[in-house]
């Protein structure tokens, strides 16, 4: 079952709007004072959550495509990944603004001193080259093969993101959500590993034959 090109662009446009809703909700809540007693904590956590959601959704595209055979879904992947970067940027911005008031030197000191922040910061830095090379033009310039290699960084980034969250929650011994995210990312990565091994065995069999 493949939607027509027109249907595909409708799906993509709806997804674009839907992915923007968490941000719009946040903006609306700021102006209507609906963020509770500690609005900045709320914004930090909310943007962090949405970063993880979008990383997971982006990572889910390939397995879903393979399991369902809906190859057109790959067209949605770039937008989803960029949304992950968008929410990660907001998350980082709240940290830089509200925790450090744009004092970059102080911010970096904080990053180096605290492992859980360092892990999150590293993940954010690693996301940047992926976002920068997301245009068709850049794919051409980098070369498809190298581009693919580079974008495998997302596996590391998602794992670091989960570790960042896990560490943040560790002090409170509140692991239910980090474990959930961790399991989802693990399943999505293990599926890829499984397919890679399968492919290799298949190739070996062919070469022996």
């Amino acid at each position: 079952m493949t939607p027509t090109l027109k249907q595909q662009s409708i799906i993509k446009a709806s997804l674009f709007v839907a992915a923007l809703l968490p941000f719009l909700r946040l903006v609306l809540a700021v102006f209507t004072d609906h963020l509770g007693a500690n609005p900045l904590e709320f914004i930090t956590r909310n943007t962090g959550d949405w970063t993880l959601y979008f990383l997971c959704i982006t990572l889910a595209v390939t397995p879903l495509r393979r399991l369902t055979g809906w190859s057109w879904m790959v067209k949605l992947r770039r937008m989803l990944g960029l949304y992950g970067f968008f929410y990660a940027s907001l998350h980082f911005l709240t940290f830089l603004w509200f925790d450090h008031f744009f004092d970059v030197a102080e911010m970096l000191k904080d990053v180096v001193k605290r492992p859980f922040i360092l892990v999150g910061f590293t993940a954010f830095i690693l996301l940047m080259p992926l976002a920068l090379t997301s245009t068709n033009k850049m794919i051409k310039r980098v070369g498809a093969k190298r581009w693919q290699q580079l974008h495998k960084l997302i596996y590391l980034i998602a794992s670091l993101g989960v570790l960042h969250y896990f560490w943040m929650k560790a002090g409170k011994h509140d692991f239910s959500q980090p474990v959930l995210f961790g399991s989802i990312v693990a399943i999505l990565l293990l599926l890829r590993l499984f397919w890679a091994i399968q492919k290799r065995q298949h190739e070996q069999r062919l070469s022996v034959g």
Binding site: A37, N38, R114, A170, G171, H173, D174, S176
Partner: protein, 267 residues
């Protein structure tokens, strides 16, 4: 429900009071859920009457006091204290109660009484958060005897001119303004005098992160964040920097309790 008390002018800070709404909807009370908005939503199930507190251990006069007798031990006074949470935010709250020392003198500790241990309610039928194994329930806190005797240590029954809302630790809690908030146990059911340092809840769960003393100290960082500054709820925010945290949360009168102690070691 109103609770009358005259303000004790020795214990008033110049800071703006935190809005009642913020102080009663942004709470850490894990027995009612780990999310800060949860206690306000789910603490309605807590039954605060009848209530009694059992006082036992190394004392000459063990007793079990019901809430009304407990409240009559000394005149209630209102004190406006700063509250600094270990997570890096702070509030200013008008509490109602009296110095714990009034109760301690009444039960006559013997010479073995070196520490005081507070046990709080842990009843699954009233507290939905107990189903989650975040901590070993019941929540236990403790103080060294001289800390417990310090006049700042407030046995607390009310806030903002009313009896304590359930989510703030009704019907009776401690308030120790020079320590991080989690050192102040809520909904106390037992007070025990011991000669050994009590095994307190957070210290047992994560000893590297939460020390037995847990005095507010801008120079000793939490392993995962700095304690040098804090965000005052309702005031510091989008366009104001976080404020500097003060040693002992500004209550320098407790400093003598810790003279000679390495506060980096005894954090």
């Amino acid at each position: 429900q109103k609770l009358a008390a005259a303000t004790n002018s020795n214990y008033v800070v110049i800071d703006n009071k935190t809005a009642y709404k913020d102080a009663t909807t942004y709470n850490n009370y894990y027995e009612f859920g780990t999310d800060k908005s949860e206690p306000a939503q789910s603490a309605g199930s807590l039954k605060t009457r009848p209530w009694s507190v059992s006082i036992e251990g190394e004392i000459n006069k063990p007793m079990k006091l019901d809430l009304d007798s407990l409240m009559k031990i000394a005149p209630l006074e209102e004190r406006i204290y700063r509250l600094r949470c270990v997570e890096g935010w702070s509030m200013v709250i008008p509490w109602i109660g009296f110095s714990l020392s009034n109760l301690i003198k009444k039960v006559e500790p013997n010479s073995n009484a070196k520490y005081i241990e507070f046990t709080t309610l842990a009843d699954k039928s009233q507290m939905p958060g107990l189903r989650e194994g975040v901590l070993d329930w019941p929540y236990v806190e403790g103080l060294r005897m001289d800390e417990a005797m310090h006049p700042l240590a407030l046995l607390t029954f009310g806030m903002y001119g009313e009896v304590l809302p359930n989510q703030n630790g009704a019907p009776v809690r401690m308030v120790l303004p020079w320590k991080y908030g989690f050192k102040s146990p809520k909904s106390i059911v037992k007070i025990r005098f011991t000669n050994k340092q009590p095994k307190t809840a957070w210290n047992t769960t994560a000893p590297r992160e939460y020390g037995f003393y847990s005095n507010v100290n801008p120079e000793v960082d939490h392993p995962r964040w700095s304690q040098a500054s804090e965000r005052r709820i309702g005031e510091d925010g989008f366009f104001t920097k976080k404020r500097k945290t003060l040693m002992f949360n500004g209550y320098s009168e407790v400093a003598s309790l810790y003279s000679g102690m390495d506060l980096k070691k005894y954090y």
